[in-house]
């Protein structure tokens, strides 16, 4: 009896891999290569005239001050959303991991927001914070706190950050909770016997042991804020006021769809693609070293 089964020849491995390869090529590589090709073209909306312009779309892009503004917005937006959603989710998970009454209900309720589509989440938050319709906005105004996301860029940014964070907390919570439950009880009990207080137990034992989960979530969250928050921004602010909430991915949309500037939009998505690949690579190269599996 052999322990390892292996196949001779290439046919079976190729056949087994084929579905995955076909999907990857068809739905990932092919569209990506189309975007790269499009980014070198200048084309009218209907595609009736096409001109190959080399790097002109990229040159225009890097000469556009609006692009740098979107870059800064993205940096602010993504750091706030990542830090807030990770830390709040961690807090909730630690709380839910304790022996408390009704823990199951508590956990279930926390997971619900994840089922809400981003655009719907945006509408929900607008209902609360719209200066004319929103209950909470009226509350703020009656406390004479000026609140007007229609015109004030910081207010609008706060609102999209809150909505995007709210949406992501449940996902992070789920993974943190699973991570916490996989930490061996014996290690914690040993620490208790050694006289470590809860805070100390958390920072010296639990947090480091959670690091693989945290690292995974950080990567996922960055991808989330870069790409999936589009619907939230579109419904809440449409990138406004005065471009204050226009992130890179939103700019790709508004230039490509609203402006029919497919070349420029494609150039932006290529830059965005390179950026996210770079960031993920950096994470795996440097941050992963600090992760103890």
């Amino acid at each position: 009896m052999t322990k390892n089964a292996y196949f001779s020849g290439l046919t079976i491995p190729v056949l087994l891999l084929a579905p995955q390869l076909v999907i990857t090529v068809l739905f990932f590589y092919w569209p990506a290569s189309q975007a790269v090709w499009q980014s070198f073209l200048l084309q009218d909306a209907f595609g009736t005239s096409t001109e190959f312009v080399w790097f002109e779309n990229y040159r225009d892009l890097f000469a556009d001050p609006g692009y740098y503004k979107a870059l800064i917005n993205t940096a602010i937006f993504s750091s706030f959303v990542c830090v807030l959603s990770l830390s709040i989710a961690l807090l909730f998970a630690v709380m839910a991991d304790r022996q408390i009454r009704g823990a199951e209900i508590y956990k279930t309720l926390l997971i619900w927001p994840y089922a809400v589509a981003p655009a719907v989440a945006g509408v929900l938050w607008i209902f609360m914070f719209d200066p004319s319709l929103g209950m909470l906005a009226r509350g703020l105004n009656s406390l004479s706190i000026a609140w007007n996301p229609r015109l004030n860029g910081n207010d609008a940014m706060t609102l999209v950050i809150l909505a995007a964070t709210w949406k992501q907390i449940s996902y992070n919570f789920l993974f943190f909770l699973a991570g916490l439950q996989s930490i061996p009880k014996s290690v914690i009990e040993a620490a208790v016997i050694d006289g470590a207080k809860p805070m100390r137990r958390f920072w010296t034992i639990i947090f480091p042991l959670l690091s693989p989960t945290t690292f995974f979530l950080l990567t996922v969250n960055i991808v989330y804020v870069f790409f999936d928050t589009f619907g939230i921004i579109d419904t809440i602010s449409g990138g406004g006021p005065s471009g204050a909430t226009e992130t890179l991915v939103y700019k790709v949309y508004s230039d490509g769809k609203g402006g029919s500037n497919l070349g420029g939009s494609a150039a932006q998505s290529v830059v965005l693609l390179i950026m996210v690949i770079g960031m993920t690579a950096i994470q795996f190269r440097f941050i992963e070293r600090k992760v103890s599996y």
Partner: protein
């Protein structure tokens, strides 16, 4: 009955249902962007047309918002599956016109199909927007509107203003706004939807000042924006000043803020005449509308307003037989009685002179003067270079750029002059880009 036989029967029924109307009938796809009561109007029109003859069948399909519908049409054209008729909002006119080969001009369509078609039968204020400089009609006007000033009569009474004498000029509106604010409307004395349509596009036409060279782009894609001129700056400066204490309050780029009027929050709102249906259904107070205000020092103001709404474009590359059906449908649409009915029921403007005259003669406007306001604005004076309309490529995005700059002025990041300068400069960049790609 077993599951299997149920499936068989329903499959058979499906095949039959699919096959029946295909008997020698030519299908004509009509993509549109209308919802609610207006969607019913579209469906009813198609049904009526289909019942009126046997050779053609109009199939309407809702494709989302105006920009969504335009994009769906563009994408379908690129994929070779464009509909026959595409409803495009007035902002997309420049984009459509420049697409030679992608569209079939209506005047050509009607001539080739041998339909009787007299461009002079249509209201020039409407068709001018959709015609070439030579007067050839490129698309068929469908739902047209203009911008009017809606006001809350109850609020006017409360503030000691005469509800039957609405303010005519901007200074009067500012005064009214202050009085309304003092009377309890402290969050919003007056406002407008469609930030750029109100404060740039309609404003320019109504005051007979250009927003760009080349007849606001109607005479060529090499038009250069120039609305950073004194009266535009003055108006924006006033709005910025009044925004500080909320005598004026900004309500966003599109018509999302229209609810502020119907809820009673903002007693004066400039927005589309197409707001009528919504006001009628939702406003729990006495209301009316009036022509847009103007600055009395502007010579010749008020001039005439320009239209909004949408027109029907015929897509290129279809069969002659299908075009014949489209032409027949357009003739059907232009029928006087049909236009009268459409106008009086939906609130959209009648597109032919005969229909307008007929409604006027019937005394309909005595009871409902608010439906005549936009027509009176549009036909106030013979259109000039500055008030025939506007036609810019990429206008959907250019409007966003303009809105951004107006917002920057209103929230104090830029002076009104600097904001308008930037709006002009950034808009011109977009126009030059479009000029390069437009195949003419």
């Amino acid at each position: 009955m077993t599951v299997k036989s149920t499936i068989l029967i329903s499959a058979a029924a499906f095949v039959l249902a699919g096959a029946a109307p295909a008997l020698a009938q030519t299908e004509i796809q009509w993509w549109h962007a209308l919802t609610g009561a207006n969607n019913d109007v579209v469906v009813k029109l198609a049904e009526d047309f289909n019942a009126s003859q046997k050779d053609y069948k109009i199939v309407p399909a809702y494709k989302g918002s105006y920009p969504d519908t335009l994009n769906a049409g563009i994408a379908a054209f690129r994929a070779g599956t464009a509909p026959h008729i595409l409803q495009v909002f007035e902002v997309g006119t420049g984009t459509m016109m420049s697409a030679k080969g992608a569209i079939k001009p209506v005047f050509e369509l009607m001539k080739e199909a041998g339909e009787t078609f007299d461009p002079k039968a249509y209201l020039p204020a409407i068709t001018g927007y959709y015609s070439t400089a030579k007067g050839d009609m490129l698309s068929m006007p469908f739902n047209s509107s203009s911008m009017v000033m809606w006001y809350n009569k109850d609020a006017f009474k409360k503030a000691g203003l005469n509800p039957d004498a609405p303010p005519k000029t901007w200074p009067e509106v500012f005064e009214a706004g202050k009085k309304l604010k003092a009377a309890g409307f402290d969050k919003c004395g007056f406002t407008n939807a469609w930030a750029t349509w109100a404060n740039i596009e309609q404003f320019g036409a109504w005051h007979n000042i250009p927003i760009a060279t080349k007849g606001n782009g109607l005479d060529g894609f090499d038009a250069v924006l120039n609305f950073n001129s004194p009266l535009f700056v003055k108006h924006l400066t006033n709005l910025v000043e009044l925004q500080k204490d909320k005598t004026y309050d900004y309500s966003g780029r599109t018509n999302n803020g229209e609810g502020r009027f119907t809820s009673g929050e903002c007693p004066i709102m400039l927005t589309s005449s197409g707001f009528f249906g919504n006001v009628k259904a939702n406003a729990k107070f006495d209301w009316a509308n009036a022509p847009m205000p103007y600055y009395p020092e502007a010579t010749g103001a008020p001039q005439n307003s320009i239209i909004g709404g949408a027109s029907l474009w015929v897509m290129g590359g279809k069969k002659a037989d299908e075009y014949k059906g489209v032409a027949k449908f357009f003739t059907f649409l232009s029928d006087v009685d049909r236009q009268v009915k459409l106008h009086t029921e939906s609130g959209y403007l009648p597109i032919t002179k005969a229909a307008y005259e007929k409604v006027k003669a019937s005394g309909f406007y005595k009871d409902k003067p608010y439906l005549e306001t936009p027509i009176l604005e549009l036909t106030n004076k013979e259109p000039t270079e500055n008030s025939r309309g506007l036609r810019f490529g990429s206008l959907v995005q250019i409007r966003d750029i303009w809105s951004e700059e107006i917002e920057a002025a209103l929230n104090g990041q830029k002076t009104p002059k600097a904001a308008l300068d930037a709006a002009v400069e950034r808009g011109n960049q977009m126009l030059r880009q479009f000029e390069r790609t437009a195949s003419r």
